[in-house]
């Protein structure tokens, strides 16, 4: 267990392949531990980041392994924010409907669960387009008192 820090920043740059998901989870786990989150909250943050990166690999880069994913973690007690940036194709998160499991079951659909989970797991989720055609999602979780 790392000691708890009040303010820090760290970043990880990886290629857009699913075999990097484990390294991404380890990176996020260590940062969340360092910030003092409980095991339960750390698990939620790890899953949200995994889902966001999986979406980037699948949709922004369409499984091309050459893309970059930049993950920056910033903690300023009590705000823990993770920005995830890619330069793959843009997608509008507002066009993704909230999944209805019964409808999914009927239609044999399996996509769209990731974005829904991210919203449920984090306190704030913000998608934006940056200059240079980059996409960015910022996930925020507040450390409880």
């Amino acid at each position: 267990m790392n000691s708890v820090n009040k303010i820090f920043e760290k970043e990880l740059l990886v290629k857009s392949t699913t075999d990097n998901l484990a390294a991404i989870r380890d990176f996020v786990k260590s940062a969340a531990n360092q910030s003092g989150f409980s095991e339960d909250s750390t698990g939620k943050i790890i899953l949200a980041v995994d889902e966001a990166c999986t979406n980037i690999i699948k949709h922004a880069y369409k499984y091309s392994p050459e893309g970059n994913i930049l993950i920056k973690v910033k903690f300023n007690d009590p705000k823990f924010s993770i920005s995830i940036t890619d330069d793959g194709s843009h997608f509008d998160p507002n066009t993704v409907p909230e999944p209805d499991l019964r409808e999914y079951y009927k239609q044999k659909r399996v996509g769209g669960l990731g974005m829904f989970l991210i919203k449920k797991l984090m306190d704030e989720v913000n998608y934006s387009t940056l200059s240079g055609n980059k996409n960015q999602v910022i996930l925020v979780k507040y450390l409880p008192n």
């Binding site: 899953l47 995994d50 999986t54 499991l101 044999k108 996509g111």
Partner: protein, 117 residues
């Protein structure tokens, strides 16, 4: 690299899949392979034992959604057992308990199939 292992065994007429480790977008294809094998062998009664599963993402949940209807159309099902609380919570967030049966112990899930004859 995420560690994931999947093992298939028969308990009577029921196929039990043991999943172990981390089930994410990278490892989900290994589980799909097992389900494809079951379809080829016409084994539609499936229990997934989660005892040693530490982590699941939506890519893993998607595998069960992709195969459950085919199993049910053939008088089978996919039932879940031995799930840890942190893994169950993810299934619960997505509303799976409405559509799937969860059991504490593998043998309860297997018996449920046998009760049907």
């Amino acid at each position: 690299m995420a560690e994931f292992n999947v093992n298939l065994r028969d308990v009577g007429s029921v196929s039990v899949i043991d999943v172990k480790g981390y089930l994410d977008a990278h490892t989900a294809p290994e589980l799909e392979n097992i389900f494809n094998k079951l379809l080829v062998e016409k084994q539609f009664r499936v229990v997934v034992n989660f005892d040693e599963l530490k982590y699941i993402s939506s890519a893993g949940l998607g595998v069960f959604m992709a195969y459950v209807e085919t199993m049910r159309e053939n008088k089978g099902d996919i039932k879940f057992s031995n799930m840890k609380e942190n893994v169950y919570n993810i299934f619960d967030l997505l509303g799976f308990p409405i559509l799937y049966e969860f059991y504490k112990e593998e043998k309860e899930a297997v018996h449920k199939f046998n009760d049907l004859g």
